[in-house]
C-alpha cells in the first residue's frame, strides 16, 4: 500500500466526517475531500508525505470547501470570511465526528437502500459505479438514489450532531441493520459473484470495526462484528475447487479462518452487560458451530436453546426454520418437523429454498424418503444461487 492508499483507507472517512459536520453539507464535504486527495496525489510523490497525513488532508480539504463557498457567493464581498469558522485544528478532530457521520448516513428517516448507499459512498469511500455493481443496479439509478438522499438530509435538516440518549438505541440499531445488509449482500454473492460484490463482506467488516471502536460498550455492535467475522471465517470452505457450494456439514473445517474465529470469540467475551440482542445471539450460535471439531460434535441442544431465545427477541419465520433444524438435531427429526409444520402451513415462506431444504433433511432423517425427495426438488427449484441449486439437485437424486 502506498502512503496515499493508506491515507485513503485510514483517514478519508474521518476527514469527510469532520468537514460534513462543520459545513452541514455532505456533498460539499465529499467533493472537497476528493480535491484534497487529488492534491495529495499531485504533491506527495515529489514533496514527500506529510508527518500527519490526516491533518494535512483536513486542512487542504477545508481550504477547498471555503473556495467553493466563496465562489458561490453572488458578490465577492459577501462576508464569507466573517462567518466561516476557523479551520479544524490539525490532528485534533474528534472521533465523535466519524460516529456522527455514520449515524447521519444511517438515519432511520431515510429509506434503507439510501442508508446503505450513503454509508458505502461517504464512510467506506466506495465510488458510485462500485456501489451500483455491488448491488446489481444501474449506475445512474444509484447516483440518483444518493442525490435524493443527500437532498433529504439537507432540506429536511437531518442533523450531524450526536442524538440524545433516548434515541441512541434506535439509531445504533439502524446502523447495525445497514452494515449487516451490506455483509449479507456480499455473502450471497460469494463464490460465483464478481469480486466487487464479494468485497462487500470486507467493507461491512471494516465498517463494523470502525463503529465498534467508537462504541466499544454497545453489545449488539460487538455481537454484529463477531457474527460477521464468524460467518466470513468459513468463506474459503463454502466452495470446492470446482466452485460448487459445499453444505455446512460437509465443509472442510481446516479451511476455516481460525484467527477470525478467535477474534470473534474474544469480542463475544466482552459482551453480556447490556440487554442481549439478535446479533449477539446469532454470533453465539455461530461460535458454537465454530467450536465443534467435527460436524458430529456440534452442541445442538445449546444451539436449539439459543434459537429459542432468538425467536423471543427477534421472532421471524426464518428464525423458526433455523430453530427447527437445531431442534431436529438435538431432539430428533420428529421434534424439528413439529416446529416446522406451522411455518410450512402459513405459506409466507413458501418461496424460501432453505425452508424446503430443512424440511427435506428432517424428512430424510425421519425415514420418509419419498417426501424428502419431493422437498429437495422443491428447494432446488426455488434456489436462485446456481451452485446451491446444483447441490440441492444432487440431494434430490440421492447422491
Amino acid at each position: 500500500m502506498t502512503p496515499l492508499e493508506r491515507a485513503f483507507r485510514e483517514e478519508r472517512a474521518q476527514v469527510v466526517a469532520t468537514l460534513a459536520r462543520r459545513l452541514g453539507d455532505l456533498q460539499l464535504a465529499e467533493d472537497a475531500v476528493s480535491d484534497a486527495f487529488a492534491a495529495a496525489a499531485a504533491t506527495w510523490p515529489s514533496a514527500g508525505v506529510p508527518d500527519r497525513p490526516g491533518a494535512w488532508l483536513t486542512t487542504t480539504a477545508w481550504r477547498k470547501a471555503l473556495d467553493v463557498l466563496r465562489r458561490e457567493r453572488s458578490t465577492p464581498d459577501d462576508g464569507v470570511d466573517a462567518v466561516v469558522p476557523p479551520p479544524p485544528e490539525p490532528g485534533l478532530y474528534g472521533e465523535d465526528d466519524l460516529l456522527q457521520l455514520v449515524l447521519t448516513c444511517c438515519h432511520p428517516a431515510l429509506a434503507i437502500d439510501a442508508r446503505v448507499a450513503l454509508t458505502l459512498r461517504h464512510v467506506a469511500g466506495l465510488s458510485v459505479p462500485e456501489i451500483a455493481a455491488g448491488f446489481l443496479v444501474a449506475e445512474d439509478t444509484m447516483a440518483k438514489r444518493l442525490v435524493r438522499a443527500r437532498t433529504k438530509i439537507r432540506q429536511s435538516r437531518i442533523s450531524f450532531e450526536l442524538p440524545g440518549a433516548e434515541a441512541w438505541g434506535e439509531r445504533l440499531a439502524s446502523v447495525q441493520a445497514v452494515l449487516y445488509l451490506v455483509f449479507t449482500e456480499g455473502h450471497l454473492a460469494s463464490g460465483d459473484g464478481p469480486a466487487v460484490r464479494t468485497e462487500l463482506c470486507d467493507e461491512a467488516i471494516w465498517l463494523a470495526r470502525q463503529v465498534h471502536r467508537l462504541v466499544p460498550d454497545d453489545g449488539e455492535t460487538t455481537g454484529l462484528l463477531a457474527l460477521m467475522l464468524l460467518q466470513h471465517s468459513r468463506a474459503e470452505a463454502r466452495h470446492d475447487d470446482a466452485g460448487r457450494l459445499v453444505s455446512f456439514a460437509e465443509q472442510d473445517r481446516s479451511r476455516w479462518d481460525v484467527r477470525a474465529i478467535g477474534e470473534a470469540r474474544e469480542l463475544l467475551a466482552t459482551t453480556g452487560r447490556g440487554p442481549v440482542g439478535q446479533y449477539q445471539i446469532q454470533a453465539a450460535i455461530a461460535a458454537l458451530h465454530a467450536a465443534a471439531p467435527t460436524a458430529e460434535e456440534i452442541n445442538w441442544s445449546r444451539i436449539a436453546d439459543l434459537y429459542g431465545l432468538l425467536a423471543r427477541v427477534a421472532p421471524s419465520p426464518v428464525v423458526t426454520v433455523n430453530r427447527a433444524v437445531a431442534v431436529g438435531r438435538a431432539d430428533g427429526p420428529r421434534a424439528g418437523i413439529a416446529l416446522l409444520l406451522p411455518v410450512l402451513a402459513e405459506g409466507r415462506l413458501a418461496g424460501y429454498a432453505p425452508m424446503q431444504a430443512a424440511y427435506a433433511d428432517l424428512l430424510e432423517r425421519a425415514g420418509d424418503d419419498a417426501g424428502a425427495t419431493a422437498a429437495w426438488r422443491r428447494a432446488a427449484e426455488l434456489s436462485r444461487n446456481p451452485a446451491e441449486q446444483a447441490a440441492l439437485q444432487r440431494r434430490a437424486s440421492g447422491n
Binding site: 452541514g24 463557498l69 464569507v80 466561516v84 435538516r157
Partner: protein
C-alpha cells in the same frame, strides 16, 4: 426551521379506545405553545365536508370529497419551528392521533431570502 405536521386518521379509527379525545388536543397544543415552537395549526371538519377543485382547459371541475383517494383522512395540521428533523420527529411522535393514525412531517420551503440566510448560517455553524 419550520416543519409541517400533517395529521391523518384511518376512516374507521373514530371508535377505537385509543382515538384522541378533545382534551388530548388541548394539552398537546398547550405543550407546543409552552415550548415556544408553535407557529400555527388547525383541526379540520370531517372528510365528508371536503370539496376538491380542479381547473382543466379553463373549466372548473368540482368533486365532492378529499383529493386523494386514500384510506387515511386528513384531520388537521401543525406548523412548528424547531432546530432539526430529529426534534420535529420527537414532537410528531407525541401528537394525539399518532397511536391510531399517522403524522407526516415535511420541512416548510424557505422563502428566497430565508434560504440565503439559512445557507450562510449553516456554513457558519455547521
Amino acid at each position: 426551521m419550520q416543519y409541517l405536521m400533517l395529521l391523518a386518521l384511518p376512516a374507521d379509527a373514530g371508535d377505537s379506545p385509543d382515538a384522541p379525545q378533545p382534551e388530548d388536543w388541548t394539552a398537546y397544543t398547550q405543550a407546543l405553545v409552552e415550548a415556544g415552537i408553535m407557529v400555527s395549526g388547525a383541526g379540520l371538519q370531517g372528510a365528508e365536508t371536503a370539496t376538491t377543485v380542479q381547473v382543466r382547459n379553463g373549466e372548473r371541475l368540482l368533486t365532492d370529497g378529499p383529493f386523494a383517494d386514500t384510506k387515511e383522512h386528513l384531520l388537521g395540521f401543525y406548523v412548528i419551528d424547531v432546530p432539526d428533523l430529529d426534534t420535529a420527529l420527537e414532537w410528531a411522535s407525541k401528537v394525539p392521533n399518532v397511536r391510531t393514525g399517522s403524522v407526516e412531517v415535511r420541512p416548510v420551503m424557505p422563502t428566497a431570502e430565508a434560504a440565503r440566510v439559512d445557507a450562510t448560517a449553516s456554513a457558519a455553524v455547521g
